[in-house]
Symmetry: C2
Subunit: 184 residues, 2 copies
DNA sequence: CGGAATTTTGATGTCATTCAATGTGTGTGG
DNA sequence: CCACACACATTGAATGACATCAAAATTCCG
């Protein structure tokens, strides 16, 4: 799952990926107009909750509101990092970085063992997330494989050399604001 | 004023500009660790408020909390647009777009007359916000001037052809989530 | 099994970077 | 009040990272 924006000339930018456990439209609670679209990149199961019900809960319980609020602030922090990633890092670094992010986020949801993740994300989706062409995404992935950093097989993704991938991706998980440090 | 991130190899990315009236560190209220730095791009005057005081207010008054929350959600929406801008628009469009955003935001604070704004922003800062080199920023600005879209004189900035700039920048103000439509 | 989606490859083009000067304005100290 | 820095803007030439185009190979899935 991800959120997507389209430019006037029809180019697509994926502005975020959602991992299991995320609440995609939490931002919609206080924003009456949608400024991006949600789409699933693979089979997904969703739960729904009415905005007014959510608002009622938040009105009544400030501590719960704070938790949801915090969640959206982390989303914002991730956006900041993406701006930086797309704006100032070259394609190779950029790719390594986003892979690190996905691994860490999936790991913190407990759906990864030994850095092996199920990533049902096409190269076209990666391209639209990173502001690259699919062709270049393909080449960069090959280079990451050649350098022994990653291994892929279908949708299975393995960070063979995690430390190396982190280094290659100029990755520092601080911006994900996890309470429990992710130790691999 | 803006928030800034640095990459491992020392490149700078400005992740947001603040206009008068913004609350830069609202995100810090529920995020214990800072993931970006704030810096002033020009002379600025600031007000300060303790986080715990803010939190106390928000705990007591859900409606005020909602307003602050909404403010951070708009920040997030702007980040989304910036990701799109940097990821999928070419330099010329990108520049026109960010200029539109600044004009609209300044206008909504009532500090613009006739599209003439005081923009104390160096070309280097624009470059770091747009993920471009200063040299290219300079050339793109010249092109915008040549096309009769903008006029600059020192820090004074004039959107000579607002409609044209909006078109050139593929700009749609929806993502700024203003309650009162900005009509020029 | 068959067709569509995805990945991969090669050749070529271009937008933007980098490097290296030069020009211009502005504030500071003598 | 001028000279001198220093920051900022501008210019040209050469290079490079990534895009685009087009086709082939592979995988996926009903």
């Amino acid at each position: 799952m991800g959120s997507t924006k389209l430019t006037g000339d029809g180019k697509r930018q994926i502005t975020s990926f959602f991992v299991p456990g995320d609440i995609p439209d939490l931002h919609g609670m206080h924003l009456s107009v949608l400024d991006c679209t949600f789409s699933s990149l693979a089979r997904a199961s969703l739960g729904f909750m009415r905005h007014d019900a959510m608002r009622a809960i938040c009105d009544r319980h400030a501590s719960i509101a704070a938790i949801f609020w915090r969640s959206t602030l982390i989303d914002a922090a991730i956006y900041r990092e993406w701006v930086t990633n797309v704006g100032r890092r070259d394609a190779y670094t950029r790719m390594a970085h986003i892979l690190c992010e996905l691994i860490v986020r999936l790991h913190s949801m407990g759906i990864i063992k030994d850095h092996v993740a199920n990533l049902p994300v096409t190269q076209a989706a990666l391209a639209d997330a990173l502001g690259l062409s699919t062709v270049h995404v393909n080449r960069v992935l090959q280079e990451l494989r050649r350098n022994g950093l990653i291994f892929t097989e279908g949708t299975r993704f393995h960070a063979v050399d995690w430390a190396g991938l982190v280094r290659a991706g100029d990755f520092d998980a601080t911006y994900l604001h996890q309470r429990t440090a992710t130790t691999f």
